[in-house]
Amino acid sequence: MVELFFGYLAGAVVVLSLLVVFSRNAVHSVLWMLLMFLHMAGLYLLLNAEFLAATQVIVYAGAILVLFLFVIMLLNITEEMRLEQFTVGWPMGVSVSLGVLIAMLAALSGFRTDLKGPWSIEAVERTTHTKALGKVLYTEYMLPFEIASLVLLVAIVGAVYLAKKRLR
């Protein structure tokens, strides 16, 4: 049963990813991406990571993609549709990424791990995923969390500075 779900979700993710890359229309790309994110969230659920699934939908799909859509509106889509969508060097891009893919698949084939941490599925379910994640995040991972807040601050300052129409 789980294999079936995985098969559907994985297949959908791969196909949707390819659609993102291959569609001529940038708006379509973003929309395929949205669907891809939803399937990704499904995979997270399959792996007992409900909080991340929610984050994936809310942050990625809800915020980041909307940002992309805003910017795409700058482009002239109709003219864009008529133009070549790949660069002249695409054969190199294809072969290199195929090579990297083969290397990765080869390296990872049969990969398994015997390491077991303290957070078994039962333990996570007992505390609920959000709470468990929160516990680790706000104790052990306090420092990265703070740094992440600075990263966001930089993003705000920078985006405002670069994109604002006119400065004082």
Partner: protein, 100 residues
Amino acid sequence: MVPLHWYLWLGSVVFAIGMFGFLTKRNVIIMLLSIELMLNGVNISLVALSHYMQDLRGQILVFFIIVVAAAEAAIGLAIVIALFRNKATAHVDEITGMKG
């Protein structure tokens, strides 16, 4: 039960598709989307590893990756807008003023 390496393969495939998009698309915005694809490939691998190792660290990293991805997207798009103001193009092969 799904073997772990299926997930890792899936992650790698998504990563490679993202890489392919980054290396071939002319449109800067789609290149940015491709980077998001690559990050998603990493994310699914991390969540799977985290699940199979019964360890939350991987998921924490995913959380941070999503945060940084948001920040990257914001800055990247801002740079594109700034560029667009000076030169109305979003095609990477028209942005080759410096070379050699």
